[in-house]
Amino acid sequence: MPDAPGLELIRGEIEMDHPGAVLDTSFDRGQSALVVDPEQIIALLTWLKDSPGHEYSFLSSLHAADYLPAEPRFVVHYELLNRDRAERLRVKAPLATVDPEIDSCVDLFPTANFQEREAYDFFGIVFRGHPELTRILLPDDYVGWPLRRDFPVGGEPVKFTYNERNYG
């Protein structure tokens, strides 16, 4: 885990190549995170994966979270790992509330295939350029994005024809 000064160094280096990409850094409870501009996410992930001295080449996890009522509401988390130094780095990309969209990183990290579909399935975040962005865990004809904070836990009530016919 790069510590707080290490994190600022990384930010400085990124600023030289991609100015304006990093919006914020945070070092909380021993874990470091970079908040980045979602439009430059692919450039940033490529930089982190390839640049010598950093080489975060393993994507442990890609997941999204809903920070309602904070704006922007959806944040996509990329948990990067450098296996040689055993260091983790989190990259967060905040997205707009209405029509959240971000570029897909499947070409860079093929492991993101199923995980981006899961984020789409749960939150409705569209990953541009994903080869097959369909629902993965919920039925294909399900309506609604269940893991959003304003979606009720019980979901939509299921209608069974037997009950409709006999009990109205």
Binding site: D141, Y142, V153, G154, V158, F160, T161
Partner: protein, 215 residues
Amino acid sequence: MRSRQLRSRDMLRGDLEGEDLERFVEERVVMTNFDKMLGWARANSMFPLTFGLACCAIEAPISIVTARYDLARFGAEALRASPRQADMIILSGRVSIKMAPVVRRLYDQMLEPKWAMAMGACSSSAGMFSNYAVVQGADKFMPVDIYVPGCPPRPEAVLYGFNKLQRKVMGSPDQGWRRRYNAEGTEEWARGGPRSEPSPEAAEAYEAARASIRA
């Protein structure tokens, strides 16, 4: 003892008549009717379907056929993978909304007589998962004959449930309760057979259900 000997002597002499003779025969010959025998045979030779959904699947059907909790001693050793050959389905695990039509289809593909055991809390009543993704109890879409509570139930509990199901099978071979709930006649037959297409009412109901999901 002495009176029985005297009666036997009378019968051999041809002295017992009418009612005495009838009673004599009844006491000595085991009489049963065909239904009871059929029920006994069905109960002691169930073919369960190898159907495991989630955590309960590790306890049954995998763990109860192993050596410690042997299901084979009750006659249910032959677990069949094809629903056409099975007559009991153990719903072991949570039924999600994506899996529910599949379970119903499997149940329809089983031929009469068939029984269903809802094993565990999740298939009986959704257990702890009262949320959007789990059907709140398998009996919302299929008839269930016996419920075994637990999360997961111990294999001994499942075997006890199985024993109760056996007693139920022996006791009520006509399954009249199914008829009361309109839960009969839903089997799916192979193509070309006499019931290979669903009945008009069933077809209409399927179409209405699909249309209401699409809408």
